[in-house]
Amino acid sequence: MSGVMSEWWTYRAEDFLLFSPRVYWRLIELHNQALWPWQLLALLLGVLILASMLRPRPWSDRLIAALLAAAWVFVAWNFLWQHYATINWAMVYVVPLFVLQALLLVGIGTLKGDLSMPARWSIPRILGIALFLHALLLHPLLPAYAGRSISTAEVFGIFPDPLAIATLGMLTAAIPRHRAWPLLVIPGLWCLLSWLTLDTMEVRGAWVPLLAVVAAIAGRLWPRAR
C-alpha cells in the first residue's frame, strides 16, 4: 500500500487514457451513422422537455423526470455498454451509476413528484434553461468549434455529455432545491470525468462540461430571492 501511496503522484492524466483521440471520435462517428435518423427523435423529445421547463403544466414535471430517466438508461445501455465499453473498460463501473441516476429521477421526480419547474424567472431558472438549451442546440455544434467533422456531433439523448448537461440544467432550475441536490451528483461526476478525458485528448472546448458543473452549482447555491 505504501508503495502505491508514494508513486501515485508520478502518474499523469494521460497515463489513464486508454485510447487515442482518433479511435474515440471514430467511435462517436460510427455510432451516429448506425443510429441515424433517431437523433432527430431524441432532439424532438429534448424540445418537449424544454417546452415543459418554459411552460410547466400540472403533469409535465413528472413527464420531464420520466423522459430524462429513460434517456439515462438508453445511453447507459446503447452507448456506454455496447460501444464505449469496447475501448474503455471503466464504463463497466459507470453503467450502474447511470442506471441509479435513472432510478433517482423516476423515484424522486416521477413517482413522488418532488421536482417542480418554477414558473417565475430567477437566476437558477435562467442558468438551468441556458444549460438545457446548450445541451440541446449548441453542444451538437461543438465539432465545428473544435475543428472536427460534424459527423462527430453529440446529440442529447444519444450521448452522455449533452444528456448530463441537460439533466444538470433541469435540476438547476428545479424547486425545491434540496430535492435536486442528490440528483446532481452523478451528472456532475460524469461531466468532470468527461472534462478530464477531453482535456487529456487536448480537445478544443474540453472545458464545456466543467463549465456546466460550475454553472449548475452556482445556480443551486444562488441566494434565494426574497
Binding site: 508503495g3 508513486e7 508520478t10 494521460e14 497515463d15 487514457l17 486508454l18 485510447f19 487515442s20 479511435v23 471514430r26 467511435l27 460510427l30 460501444h83 469496447t86 475501448i87 474503455n88 473498460w89
Partner: protein, 310 residues
C-alpha cells in the same frame, strides 16, 4: 512437506531428462534461429527471440471499428514479415487483446507469435480466470510469457504463474513495471524469484535501469523486455525537429526511431524492445533496426550524450 518432496522429485527428474535431451541434440528451434541476425537468446533457455517486438497499449485499443482493425492487422502483417515475434498486451489495454486475436486469425499467425500478456487484478483469486479470458481473446493455445503487470498482487500471481509453468500452461514467467516506478521492489523480486523475464522502461534518456536492474538481470540470467522505447511517442516527437547526427549511419540508423531502438537493443542485458505503433511504415522502420551494425559501448555513450545535449 510431503507434496513438496514429490514436487521437487518430479522437477529433478524432469530436469535430468531435459539435460540428457539437451546434451544429445540442441532444440530445433534454437538451431534454426541461431544464425538469424537481430535475435537474442532468452537467458533461461537459450531460445532466440528477435530483438524488436510489438507493444499494443493504446495503439491496438480500437474496439469493433472494422477500418481500424484492418489497420492493426496490416501492422501485424508487416511486423511478422520483418521477422518480429513478440507481441505484448494486457487485460488493462481495452480491446487490444481482441485486436491481436483478430490479426492472428486473419494472418494465420498463431504459430509465429511469441504471445506475451499479463495478469492485472488486485484480487489474487481471479488471476487464473483473467488469464483464461485473455487467452481466449488472443486465440492461442497457451501464452509463451505471462507477466505480473506493475507488480499488482505480485506474490499471489507469481505463485499462480510458476504453477502454470510447472504444468506446461505457460512457457515463461515475468514481472513488469514502467516509467522508472517501483524499482526497489522490482530489484528485490528479481533477486528472490526464478524469473525468466522482467519488463521495464529504458531508452536513450530514461536510463535509470542501467544502474541496478540491467546489471542484475545479466547476473541472474533474466531476460529484459524494454517498454516505452519512445516514451509513448513523446521522445520521437521531440526529436523530430532535430537533425540526426551524421555519424548515425555508422550504427545504421536512418531515423530517430532506429537510433533509439539500436541504442536500447545494443545493451547487453536487453532481450527485446517493444515499440507500439498504428502505422505500417513505422513498424517496418522499427523492424529494420534489429539488424547490424549496432553501436558498441563507446558509441552508446556518444548517442546518449548527443540526445542529452540537444
Amino acid at each position: 512437506m510431503h507434496s513438496h518432496g514429490k514436487l521437487s522429485r518430479r522437477t529433478v527428474l524432469q530436469g535430468m531428462l531435459l539435460a540428457a535431451a539437451a546434451s544429445a541434440l540442441p532444440p530445433l528451434d534454437t538451431l534454426a534461429q541461431e544464425e538469424k541476425p537481430g535475435t537474442r537468446p532468452i537467458p533461461s533457455t537459450g531460445e532466440r527471440l528477435p530483438a524488436v517486438g510489438l507493444g499494443s497499449w493504446i495503439t491496438f485499443n480500437v474496439g469493433n471499428d472494422p477500418v481500424l482493425l484492418a489497420e492493426c492487422t496490416a501492422v501485424m502483417e508487416h511486423f511478422f514479415q520483418g521477422g518480429g515475434r513478440m507481441i505484448d498486451s494486457s487485460p488493462m489495454y481495452g480491446s487490444s487483446q481482441a485486436t491481436i486475436g483478430h490479426g492472428l486469425r486473419q494472418l494465420g499467425a498463431v504459430d509465429q507469435v511469441f504471445s506475451t500478456d499479463k495478469v492485472w487484478t488486485s484480487d489474487a483469486d481471479s488471476g487464473p480466470a483473467q488469464i483464461e479470458e485473455s487467452r481466449a481473446e488472443w486465440g492461442v493455445p497457451r501464452f509463451d510469457l505471462l507477466q505480473v503487470h506493475n507488480l499488482v498482487a505480485w506474490q499471489a500471481h507469481l505463485k499462480t504463474l510458476f504453477e502454470m509453468k510447472e504444468a506446461g500452461e505457460v512457457r515463461y514467467v515475468g514481472i513488469t513495471t514502467s516509467h522508472g516506478r517501483r524499482h526497489d521492489r522490482f530489484e528485490r523480486i528479481m533477486r528472490n524469484e526464478p524469473l525468466d523475464f522482467v519488463q521495464l522502461t529504458y531508452n536513450v534518456v530514461d536510463r535509470e535501469a542501467e544502474q541496478r536492474l540491467l546489471p542484475l538481470a545479466r547476473e541472474r540470467g533474466i531476460g529484459v523486455i524494454v517498454n516505452r522505447p519512445f516514451q509513448q511517442g513523446r521522445l520521437t516527437e521531440r526529436l523530430a525537429s532535430e537533425p540526426l547526427p551524421a555519424w548515425a549511419e555508422e550504427v545504421g540508423a536512418e531515423s530517430w526511431a532506429q537510433f533509439i531502438l539500436k541504442f536500447i537493443i545494443s545493451h547487453p542485458a536487453v532481450t527485446c524492445a517493444i515499440p507500439a505503433t498504428t502505422r505500417v511504415d513505422h513498424v517496418r522502420e522499427n523492424m529494420a533496426a534489429i539488424g547490424p551494425p549496432l553501436p558498441d559501448d563507446a558509441m552508446r555513450q556518444r548517442m546518449a550524450a548527443y540526445v542529452r545535449d540537444l
